[in-house]
Subunit: 340 residues, 2 copies
């Protein structure tokens, strides 16, 4: 199984697959302090809402394991603040930091590192378990030999392992449904073409990569049975923030009667937010659009606008697949009941 | 003015700006025979429906001007066939080849080259004039300080000069409306980020480049007043083939009440085709998606599906802007009357 995030207990190092280098190079970074972890999240060494939460949790472990000349508790508090500033949209980040802080508060001085590490490992293992449950739950929505379109990477790399949207597709494989996947390349960072394609190859699921503009005409020709994406934050009413381009896919799916599914653990649901308008949307640097792999694409002096996420309104979503159950509209009630 | 296609009468050479190199390099290719012209069209040295038609016309001039050891008339017929096989979707190609063939049939042996060159120049000059008329006609649909979203490049580079969709935007500038442009980068070949951005810089119209996935969320936030695109072929009922991704934009526009305009000369309308389903859609090679500027993006062994165009149904189009007039739904009647 792909293990994008692993904590080495012997050396107190956090090992991250450098997802910026995939699929051409498989490099593992070894991080020893929270500042490097924060930068790794910002620079997208690791990305995907659940994976960001898990990584940040280990970052807090490092803040106590390797505090340098600082006081451990002070360093923890600084790390808590710094990690919380890395990326604003994925709520799993704040959810995981809150859990770690709760553990920090409850634990006594001496067992601090052990308690934090235990909690971080628990967050990771719970996530993998949740993904597998989503896989089983989601597979039940799919027919035989489904042609599934997915966006960005919501796979093992974006989570503790296994994946959310890709977890559902893997669940379909394991249920014997023989899925085929249309992989949206997902500009500007091409997580589809690079990461999702790499993962699908690993697990042996057939796929083809398309530019995002090709999705609606595939739907018009009956070549898409379902769209399945992950999520970065889901409001209490079901409005869902996810990688830029998701909203357009949901509109395309609606226009063609193609079911649109979001797969996400309950940790992605932000009960404090009534609706999607309140979700902060990260704006990333223009160079992600204007350059590629260090090559300038646009003319000198050209500007870009580069929002990293968009919000899909709940009324365009047919089901939200969670580890507990498959949620159906109206989502307010179902979401509330899923937390009971 | 940008002059992407120019015939040098002194040397009988066709001079094409190599659009694959823009915006970073401004190189002009000098072609002396129709085979190189055919390859230049296939490889997208020159692209855009009107520009393809004009280039192919000059290719036929070259077939007679520089026939090598071949008989001129035989060489013309071979060139007519070869050029007609280059790209299947843009109907302007076949329209221009037909006009040239008609001229060929009518002209006597001795004046053949002169007649063909005259006709090719006429096709080009008519196109530029048509673009300017579209610019004036289209500007009347726009309000003050419009935020216009465009896809691919339907500018001076895609035509004899001035542009179709960009012609409308330039018409807005010339009418004092102060347009701002959202430039869809347009994967896989990035004609938006590369060519449209380059042209807009030349003419001094402010713009920002976006990935295609960002368009619908801009519309949801009221940041788009109109979408204007070009066309590669318009059926008699108004169904419009254009660069892959156009159909999705039309769906987005419909969902947000944003007007969707197609700007195209009458030569882009194919009266022989009742509706869009009959338009042949070119499928281009996978490498356009899997690689960029020679750099591999996707994992080894990954496959892609790469249709170059899609079809936007007439019911999603608010107006078709032609040189004769602005056409409104129902398009069957208006299109028929525009040819009267």
């Amino acid at each position: 199984m792909i293990e994008p995030i692993r904590y080495d207990r012997e050396t107190d190092k956090l090992l991250l697959i450098d997802q910026r280098k995939l699929p051409l190079k498989h490099e593992v970074l070894e991080l020893t302090n929270y500042k490097d972890v924060a930068r790794a999240i910002e620079n997208m060494v690791v990305r995907g809402a659940p994976a960001i939460g898990i990584t940040a949790s280990y970052g807090l472990v490092l803040s106590v394991a390797n505090p340098g000349s600082k006081d451990r508790k002070e360093n923890f508090r600084a790390a808590r603040e710094r990690l919380g500033e890395t990326r604003p949209t994925a709520v799993n980040l704040f959810w995981a930091l809150d859990r770690m802080e709760e553990t920090f508060r409850r634990s006594k001085g001496k067992g601090l590192k052990g308690s934090l590490l235990e909690e971080a490992e628990r967050i990771k293992q719970e996530d993998i378990r949740a993904n597998r449950e989503m896989g089983k739950n989601g597979a039940q929505l799919l027919k035989d030999e489904p042609q599934i379109l997915t966006h960005c990477n919501a796979g093992g790399l974006a989570t503790g392992g296994y994946g959310t949207a890709l977890g559902v597709i893997r669940g379909a494989l394991e249920a014997g449904l023989e899925p085929f996947v249309w992989v949206d390349e997902t500009r500007p960072r091409l997580q589809g073409a690079k990461l999702t394609a790499w993962e699908l190859k690993q697990v042996g699921i057939p796929f083809k990569i398309i530019v995002e503009g090709a999705a609606p005409s595939l739907m018009a020709r009956g070549k898409v049975d379902a769209v399945v994406t992950g999520a970065d934050r889901i409001a209490a009413n079901g409005d869902t923030a996810n990688k830029i381009g998701t909203y357009g896919l949901a509109l395309d799916a609606e226009a063609h009667g193609v079911p649109f599914y979001v797969a996400a653990p309950l940790s992605t649901i932000d009960l404090d937010l009534e609706k999607g308008q309140g979700i902060p949307i990260e704006e990333r640097k223009e160079a992600e659009v204007l350059e590629l792999e260090g090559t300038r694409l646009a003319p000198e002096g050209a500007k870009a606008y580069n929002p990293a996420f968009d919000v899909t309104p709940a009324n365009l979503i047919d089901h939200i697949i969670t580890e507990r159950k498959v949620l159906s509209p109206p989502f307010e009630e179902e979401i509330a009941s899923a937390f009971d």
